[in-house]
Subunit: 413 residues, 2 copies
């Protein structure tokens, strides 16, 4: 069955490969309209998922993420229209130049082909992922979580109807309805049909895909994001940024999980920090010396330096220098987003140069690591690996390149 | 032991990450000088490999690839100096732009980190791979074939001596001396230390790396390259290009392995082709209809369409249209290099748009798919995958990016 899905995806991808933006946008509008028309049946299907989830005792936070209502379905449809409005990256030719022998060589942006997405609970990812992959000219094979199966089936069915009504291949989006791990593993080895896999979800899911996949993977990752408060930091700026990065939204990968503070300012800064973080009852797990300054801090263990809490908790370590801060961060971070708060030029530049992460900030919140905030107009995920794409991924990151060469009879001497 | 190599590589990579071009070039010059000084001992070590190879009955072509002499050692040293002369891609900041909130966001080119190379016979790859990886700021872990073990040990020792004498970390290049498959597999799962693996060698080696590696792989590939001779082709140009692409060098991945010829010109063109290819005794394995035109052609089986002969052999198929040619090529090619010979504008554009390959040519030989011919000044391999790099890979393809963000206190609303 998976083989059939792979074949259909490959066929659809060949078709999409040569579509212009106008046609692709018609497909996105068709899909958006079809989602609106199918709103009732999507919500009914979602009710079935919610029932199952309640029976299994899913907690309220996850239930809310799973839940669809008319306005959420409308948001999905509006999302597809927003993607239609984005500039199409496909077809642009980069740095075309003549060689001395007259060959004209350029690099053309092309669709990747077939993209496999493996993701967990939220059903809106289904429409989002389709929209971005489709606009970049790719067919997509979706493998959502079992909790959202009925919702995903209804959403994909609506999108396929919309594509067909726009005269486009409905197999540009397909859902794998078998949510077993074995099927997921089979998908991870379909090198013949799938060009790239993008897992989105918790650390366990991503590790499983990295370990089992022979298809190339774009790792979207967990974020153990640090903020280093340098000796010369503006305290008020530091407090605002830390408060924002930790508490503006706690369950996200670009939230701050760990503070590194210059020892020289600890005595003055930590009590102010305590006061600010108390506004949201943030627990601070600090090293011994910091705990001596603010006895209300709890005591950090070695394990805390590597934790992504996704909660109102922060670890805190004192250091003697920007060098020690960089060493600590590079040792424990997950290569996601790291920030320095400083007014010292050399330390800002040093931090930008030497921190190994997808995004490195001077005097700003780590929460900006996001495709919308970066101006891409969309986001398929945040890559924490180094190849192909690093950081927020928009439409451009869903394309590949090929060299095109114009000759007039050249042969190699 | 591999764990130690990984740790040392990671340490060296951190050091290289912040080196300027001047220092890196001093390292390359130091390594080049050290190779020249160690020339005698490298040749003596190579003699030991050659002895073993002769005892094992290695055939003369492979023996020649394995053999080092003073001029080949000098060529390795000159190769390193040539890499020193290339522009350093590291540190360039791409498309830095302000966001409406004042954040200034740019994408900076940075080293990848630690690169693992798994390759076969030729010992000159050892020096070449080091040079390119090092210039792009990466540490490299080399795993060469057992046939060249003593040569590789002597070459790496010399390079390490040269690096040390230039005051640079010798562990920027390390050789895995255990050439067993188990050790290779262990390297393929060292995600903690190795950022990317680049296999170079035959189809079997590359398949093994793709199937066993959890570390991201850049697949360098086999080439079943096609030339399509369109109805409107200039015959003389077509014959020159085919002759060049097939016979200028037969054992390489960008050599032409298969011809696709428009049926309308077959009667006139195939006899001319036969005559031209006879100059080098090229065997043509053709479909039934072509064999009817030139009875000296041998008969192609289905299997021939997918073969990379690396020999004086070509497969040949007749088609009715550019569409059929594109369909056939996309079905059987290895996504490497494909060419059309045509004088029809629309067919040239269609072929460029619709062929799925790393490099697509109009009216030129496939043999140009090469880092030097593309003007990169160097080449680490030719990628036939779609992510990160596609086609010839030079220094730029040995780098990654990270976003750097300059703020003045921004928090996310």
């Amino acid at each position: 069955m998976l083989e059939e899905i792979g074949k259909h995806a490959k066929q659809a991808a060949r078709y999409l490969n040569v579509l212009g933006s106008t046609q692709k946008n018609q497909g996105l509008y068709g899909a958006a309209d079809a989602l609106m028309e199918a709103s009732d049946s999507i919500i009914a299907a979602n009710e079935r998922d919610l029932d199952n989830a309640r029976k299994k005792g899913m907690h309220s936070g996850l239930l809310d993420r799973l839940m669809l209502n008319p306005s959420r379905v409308e948001a999905m449809a509006e999302g597809l229209k927003a993607v239609a409005a984005l500039e199409d990256p496909v077809g642009e030719v980069l740095s075309m130049k003549p060689r001395p022998n007259g060959l004209l060589i350029g690099q053309k942006r092309v669709p990747i082909g077939v993209i496999g997405m493996i993701y967990e609970a939220r059903p809106n990812v289904t429409a989002d992922a389709f929209g971005l992959c489709f606009k970049a000219g790719n067919a997509v094979i979706l493998k959502g979580g079992s909790d959202a199966l009925w919702s995903n089936k209804a959403i994909v069915k609506a999108i396929q109807t919309g594509l067909s009504s726009a005269g486009l291949p409905s197999k540009a989006v397909q859902l794998i309805e078998d949510t077993s791990r074995e099927t997921a593993k089979e998908l991870m080895r379909m090198n013949q049909y799938v060009d790239v896999l993008i897992p989105r979800g918790g650390a366990g899911l991503i590790r499983s895909v990295v370990e089992n996949s022979t298809v190339p993977v774009i790792e979207t990752g967990t974020g153990n994001c640090h903020i280093f408060v340098d000796e010369s930091a503006d305290f008020s700026m530091a407090l605002d940024i830390i408060f924002n990065a930790k508490t503006q939204r706690i369950g996200v990968c670009n939230a701050c999980e760990s503070l590194v503070v210059h020892r020289k300012i600890a005595g003055e800064f930590l009590p102010l920090l305590k006061k600010k973080l108390d506004e949201k009852q943030v627990e601070v797990r600090a090293d011994e010396e910091a705990c001596a300054i603010v006895p209300e801090f709890s005591s950090a263990s070695e394990e805390d330096w590597g934790r992504e809490y996704l909660d109102y908790i922060l670890s805190l370590k004192l250091v003697d220098s920007v060098e020690e801060a960089i060493y600590h961060i590079n040792r424990y971070n997950t290569r996601h987003s790291e920030a320095i708060i400083t007014s010292t030029y050399a330390n800002a530049q040093k931090f930008l140069n030497e921190i190994d992460a997808a995004v490195v900030y001077v005097n700003a919140s780590t929460r900006f690591t996001d495709g919308f905030e970066f101006g891409f107009g969309a986001e398929i995920g945040i890559s924490t690996q180094k190849l192909h794409a690093r950081g927020p991924m928009g439409l451009k990151e869903l394309t590949a390149t090929k060299y095109i060469v114009y000759g007039d009879g050249q042969v190699r001497p």
